[in-house]
Symmetry: C2
Amino acid sequence: MPDIYFEDLAAGQEYDLGSRTLDRAAIVDFATEFDPQPFHVDEEAAEQSIYGGLIASGWQTCGVYMRLLCDSFLLQVHSMGSPGVDELRWLGPVRPGDTLSAKLRIDEVRVSKSKPDRGIIMTAGEVRNQEGDLVLTLKSPLMVRRRQ
Amino acid sequence: MPDIYFEDLAAGQEYDLGSRTLDRAAIVDFATEFDPQPFHVDEEAAEQSIYGGLIASGWQTCGVYMRLLCDSFLLQVHSMGSPGVDELRWLGPVRPGDTLSAKLRIDEVRVSKSKPDRGIIMTAGEVRNQEGDLVLTLKSPLMVRRRQ
């Protein structure tokens, strides 16, 4: 059960969100459903592409980030969802066998002016591969319930 | 096979990307893997939440948009991928049984300065439910191969 309220969160807090390895089947399965561009689903076409081999859909990298965020942070928080994402950047390819590690930093916290039951935390997330290369960054506001 | 190059694309072009209906199982399955917040996976918890019932993960709405974009536009284009997304907005809840319809507009086209084999098209995407309510908007650059 969640036990973290808006008041428990502060700018500067950082969270290690753990890691997950993506194998070839997971990459092809996701892309077949959501993003069947040749360099995500077809090994031969991917080799001929500018990527030189199969790469994961950037949306899958977002999904991996979201799951790690849930497991290591958000499911403990009285989360009320998010209105969107700013500055989502796919900075490098994710390839079969890559192990993705995620981090979260809170950049700003403020009480909602229009809805006094909640606050907004501005988060900065990042995902790196096993070489330490950034593959995803994103900035996103999250709505969090205030203590009564 | 793709037959649309950068030179074939121009600011102001609009594409109807078709639609897809999301049932309850698809919503829960996606969220169970990528975004297991209570209001995405647990009917009872969702009813107690600010959403008043089960809603789809915003990342699934992005996935549906991406798939519609592929099927109705991008797989005909010599796409070279995308560096990211700006101003992704989840504007309203997506509920079981909702039919999502997507559109794409090209806002700007320009040749890459650093990589002469490609151009950048700035796209604005939107997804509406069967009531016509906007549920997702996003702005994203796409890299497209130039004709030799």
